[in-house]
């Protein structure tokens, strides 16, 4: 294996890491005429420990929250240099995107830069040890929303960044899942063919943080979609234009039972929380017309 790929093996992601798979798929879909700006997070850390890098395209990491702003600067420079046919991808995790990075993200959308922002959503600050983020689902056991004698895990539902992005009226805002890799790549290619700001949020299981079996990463990602908990939707200029239909939605328990981060929800005293999670799935199905 001597030829250099766009995203090379030898990186130190955990075995079965959904994010490393998604990053590879995104980059392969984008092609070599791509510059990447990456936030701090698992992906950045496991792929660029000096002197090794897994990246085959030009790639830059600055800080935790600013890849959307750095990418804006890259785009401005390319326009100035009259090299506007290069793809620009800004990417980060859920924490770096939805929490600390929301300001830069919104600024990039508002200014209309021709950049694709990819958010790898593993639903917590994984790189720092599984702390709760704004995209951590309701009821999740994380180190800063732990299960205890007086708590059943995270008290808040996921922030909806796909809709926040869409409300900026950008040309394309969508969710995707690493459980459907070819569909994910099609979405990346579709986004890159559109001029203007684009947002794709990819659900990526983290076997370590979710305490799931590494071999079941794809299966678990699929179940999140099949239960309605992770709706696969597409917005164009603020309008919902597409959603992945579910033939027969599976009960949320099918998805939750494969991850120890939700183990506490199966206890007697967590019945209410379990019902709330099923309601979240049902609400998604209704809101996005999944059936």
């Amino acid at each position: 294996m001597s030829d250099i790929k766009l995203f090379n093996p030898g990186h130190t992601a955990c075995a079965g890491c959904g994010q490393s798979l998604a990053a590879r798929l995104v980059l392969e879909a984008a092609g070599k005429n791509t510059i990447v700006a990456n936030n701090t997070g698992c992906l950045e850390v496991f792929s660029t420990y000096y002197p090794q890098t897994a990246w085959g395209t030009p790639w830059i990491h600055s800080l935790f929250e600013n890849c959307a702003a750095v990418a804006s600067g890259i785009e401005a420079a390319l326009i100035y240099l009259k090299k506007t046919d290069t793809n620009i991808i800004a990417q980060g995790g859920d924490g770096g995107t939805a929490d600390i990075g929301l300001q830069a993200l919104s600024g990039m959308f508002e200014r209309g830069h021709n950049i694709l922002y990819v958010c790898y959503d593993n639903e917590a600050y994984m790189n720092t040890g599984v702390q709760r983020s704004g995209l951590t689902p309701f009821g999740t056991n994380t180190t800063t929303s732990p299960v205890g004698l007086q708590a059943h895990g995270n008290k808040r539902p996921k922030k909806n960044i796909v809709e926040i992005a869409a409300s900026h009226r950008i040309p394309y805002s969508a969710s995707a899942s690493v459980g459907y890799p070819q569909e994910l790549q099609k979405k990346v290619q579709k986004a890159l063919s559109i001029k203007g700001p684009k947002y794709i949020q990819i659900h990526v299981p983290c076997p370590l943080g979710w305490r799931s079996n590494p071999s079941q990463t794809i299966e678990i990602a699929k179940l999140a979609v099949e239960t309605g908990l992770y709706p696969i939707i597409e917005y164009e200029y603020g309008d919902l234009v597409n959603s992945k239909k579910l033939l027969k939605p599976k009960p949320v328990t099918e998805y939750l039972k494969l991850q120890k981060r939700f183990k506490h929800l199966f206890a007697e005293n967590a019945k209410q929380e379990m019902e709330e999670i099923q309601k979240i799935a049902d609400d998604n199905i209704k809101r996005y017309k999944l059936i």
Binding site: Y50, I60, V70, A76, Y80
Partner: protein, 399 residues
């Protein structure tokens, strides 16, 4: 061409002539006229540059980081709160060795909120790896910006440069400034030739994880580069500048009547002008006084300052900032030069003009007099309202 022009607008004109490809702008008093002027230039087609209105200073710095990493000359300006908000990006830019030029329109820092001039903002980031230059007047401000690009982009340097210009005092003051023509500037400052950049034809990974096995060398490299820059590159650029524009470039320090002086005041920025005026008047009265202006604060011109002061009897370090709990930072830096040295002046520290409080000629006369009488031991606030602080009560609420 000489013209009477507001400081900010003169800065904008010089930046325009340096032809940056990406400019990021976020407004903060008293920097606003600089970016407004640049915006107008772009709008009129007088400046071919991508002008990006960002949503915060953190992003302003991040945008020029991305632009510079892509191989384009960049510019941004800020002050006070804005500078502090972008601090992690400043360290990032220096660590990534990107030759960005930034104007800091010096302003006091909150709390309390204060929009007037002092040096606390830029002095607070003196450890960041940025080269920091301080202007005494608007001519010097323009000249330093020009030299800043040539210095930053030198392949032996590749460090960002911050040009510090006193807010309001310089930014909003009209002076006669000689703005060179485009041709001369093009002769002095060639097109930016990046040493490295993000390029699909030659991909690299920038912003790597530097573990315990590789980080320390990167810091040594910046420190080493700063020392070389001080002794070789800044004088080189300064000489080139003098040859093309016919006036002195950045000489690191300026020794004003210090040769035979018994008493010297050391300072940064526009206050030096006031001190020079008072020194001239005292000289007429037969007093042997002088002024040492520090133009380049980082890298710190250790040898040059040491040599300028070693034969002086009384030295007063006058600062518009303070390292709270210790002393003025410059006082600490300069006294350290004389540690364990035989020829040591009596060094005194004075803190003045914080939050834009006017520095008067009477203040300076007082300081020269105090120095003659033996100075003080450390940090003396000059121009303080004694009525407010005299009671020494715990909590003072003035109704």
């Amino acid at each position: 061409m000489k013209k009477f022009i507001e400081g900010s607008r003169a800065t904008a004109e010089i930046i325009k002539l340096c032809k940056p490809g990406v400019i990021s702008a976020y407004p903060i008093t008293p920097q606003t006229h600089i970016v407004e002027e640049l915006a107008q230039m772009v709008a009129n087609g007088d400046l071919d540059s991508q002008f990006i209105n960002v949503e915060s200073e953190h992003s302003a710095a991040s945008v020029v980081l991305g632009g510079s990493a892509t191989g384009v000359r960049t510019y941004t300006a800020t002050s006070s709160q804005g500078l502090l908000l972008m601090v992690e990006v400043l360290f990032n830019i220096a660590g990534m060795r990107l030759p960005i030029v930034l104007t800091c329109a010096n302003r006091a820092v909150s709390a309390p909120i204060n929009i007037w001039n002092d040096h606390q903002d830029s002095v607070t980031v003196r450890d960041s790896g940025w080269i920091q230059l301080y202007a005494e007047n608007n001519q010097e401000a323009c000249d330093l910006h020009l030299q800043a690009y040539k210095l930053a982009e030198n392949h032996k340097v590749m460090l960002p440069v911050m040009v510090c210009v006193d807010g309001y005092i310089l930014t909003h003051a009209g002076e006669i400034v000689d703005i060179p023509d485009q041709k001369s500037i093009d002769r002095f400052l060639p097109k930016y030739d990046p040493l490295y950049k993000l390029d699909v034809l030659n991909p690299i990974t920038m912003g790597i994880v530097g573990g315990p096995d590789s980080y320390m060398e990167t810091r040594f490299a910046i420190h080493n580069t700063m020392e070389k820059t001080l002794n070789e590159i800044i004088p080189e650029v300064s000489n080139d500048f003098a040859k093309i524009f016919g006036r002195a470039g950045n000489t690191l320090i300026e020794e004003y009547k210090t040769d035979d002086a018994d008493t010297v005041i050391v300072a940064l920025g526009s206050v030096v002008g006031t001190i020079k005026d008072v020194a001239d008047e005292l000289r007429k009265k037969g007093k042997r006084v002088g002024v040492l202006k520090i133009i380049t604060h980082r890298p710190f011109p250790k040898n040059q300052i040491y040599n300028a002061l070693r034969k002086v009897k009384n030295v007063g370090i006058l600062e518009k900032c303070i390292s709270l709990g210790l002393s003025g930072p410059l006082f600490a830096e300069i006294t350290s030069l004389f540690a364990a040295k035989d020829d040591t002046p009596k060094i005194s520290g004075f803190v003045i003009g914080l939050g834009g409080r006017d520095v008067t000629k009477q203040n300076i006369e007082y300081i020269f007099e105090k120095l003659e009488k033996g100075g003080n031991n450390d940090t003396e606030f000059v121009g303080l309202d004694e009525n407010v602080v005299k009671n020494n009560k715990e909590l003072i609420i003035n109704v």
